[in-house]
């Protein structure tokens, strides 16, 4: 469904590369967490999947169709912007050219935020605004959901809700999920596969394999 072949990327176009020959295949319906130390290239890989960046070398094939994206809260702290939850969802609906206004209520309902349509985005807690951004990303039934560190700035209770919800939609609707994670517990307990990156390269493993690797390294 998504295939990266011999992928290289450098911000200057010349070595050293941030990504050094990534080969990755993501099947339909997988929930993949991309993990690794800071600077290992996981955010760059995500930005390439989102087409914000172009590969220096190699190709990415995306047959997933529409992409839903949940930005990282720290990058997206536009909390003073005067916009209500309904406006965030309604304008996005208009961008996607979805005629049915009912998708807004449905989106809010599925993340348990129906009572917050009139609230200002800036007045929501970290967990609440993350739920709204996930609801937004799911509008128009995307084939692929990309999340950038979804638990950043989110309280424990909301983290549980959010990961529970992601796991549920992944199982029930079969949506493919790629989540850049710093929350290793969440990656191990929720994803179907883990893509572990070091120095611009990576390998796929099961959560159990990764948990063993992680424990061995620690111990």
């Amino acid at each position: 469904m998504i295939k990266a072949e011999n992928l290289y990327f450098s911000y200057t176009g010349a070595p050293p590369h941030v990504l050094n020959g990534i080969n990755l295949e993501i099947g339909e319906g997988e929930y993949i967490s991309v993990v690794g130390e800071n600077g290992c290239g996981k955010s760059t890989l995500m930005r390439l999947l989102l087409k914000f960046l172009k590969p220096t070398k190699g190709i990415i094939i995306n047959q997933a169709g529409r992409i839903g994206y949940v930005p990282q809260k720290n990058d997206f702290s536009n909390s003073n912007f005067p916009i209500t939850v309904h406006e965030v969802l309604n304008s996005y609906r208009r961008l996607l050219k979805l005629k049915d206004k009912g998708v807004i209520a449905k989106s809010l309902e599925q993340v348990g935020m129906s009572d917050f349509a009139g609230a200002l985005m800036g007045n929501l807690s970290g967990g609440q605004s993350q739920k709204i951004l996930i609801a937004r990303a799911l509008m128009g039934n995307p084939g692929l959901l990309i999340l950038d560190e979804p638990s950043t700035g989110v309280d424990i209770k909301s983290q549980k809700d959010i990961y529970g919800f992601l796991k549920k939609i992944n199982k029930e609707s079969g949506i493919t999920i790629v989540s850049v994670e710093h929350n290793l517990d969440a990656a191990i307990s929720n994803s179907t596969l883990i893509y572990h990156m070091t120095n611009g390269q990576g390998h796929l493993c099961t959560p159990i394999q990764y948990a063993n690797e992680y424990l061995n390294r620690k111990g």
Partner: protein, 273 residues
Amino acid sequence: MILMLQYGFMQNALFVSVFISILCPCIGIFLVLRRYSMIGDTLSHASLAGITIGLMTNQNPILGAFIFTSICGALIEFLRSYFRKYTDLILTIVLSLSVGTAITIISSGKLKANADSFMFGSILTVTKFDMVMVLILSLISVVTLILLYHQMIYIAYDEETAKIAGVKVKLINYIFSILVAAAISVSVRIVGVLVLSSMIALPVATALQLGKGFKLTLIFSIFFSVIDILLGLFLSYYLNVAPGGFTALISVAVLILVLFGKKLSSSLRALQS
């Protein structure tokens, strides 16, 4: 008030003022929310260069302002990809180009009319041709803004998500810079170059204090803008001062009043609870 409206020039000024008061905050809200308020200031100086070129070549100065300001607006967008981390530097570059052009032309003595009224704003000089220009540019701008409303909100609020949803961010940014140029060109005759940016930013700054969603903030911005400009126009007529300067003072006064009212209501709420 009715007495002063018997004069033809006051009717013209009122006509133009109403359009300005609607157009400026519609553009201003996106500039303020994208932290680009100073673009208004830079482009109003660009309009002065356009005015002097218009006056020197015997063309309509408003048309000259619109063309030169549009070019500068597009230049800012173009330079943005070269100076990604120093966007304030872009404004300095365009400001230098604009002020340099204006001063060179004014000091050359080749102007066939006086440019002073454009610096401070004047209600006496609004011609019928200006009114037609204002009408056309305002209508085109408002229709474009209505058509691009949701795209513009998303570019200001969350540009990356806008790109993923298929918004042509670069193209819309160029269109928007032309809209800014149009708003500035139609406003410069009455408000004047020096305080034009206040008309773009201050009503929005006042509306933001009310803590509403986007649509209501836009509506309140227009409301405050209409109050600022009409009060500025009428009072400046009676006080015999330039309307631009006085309108800027009123918009600051309205902002202070709203800030004071906000503080008062939160203190009252704290007392009640």
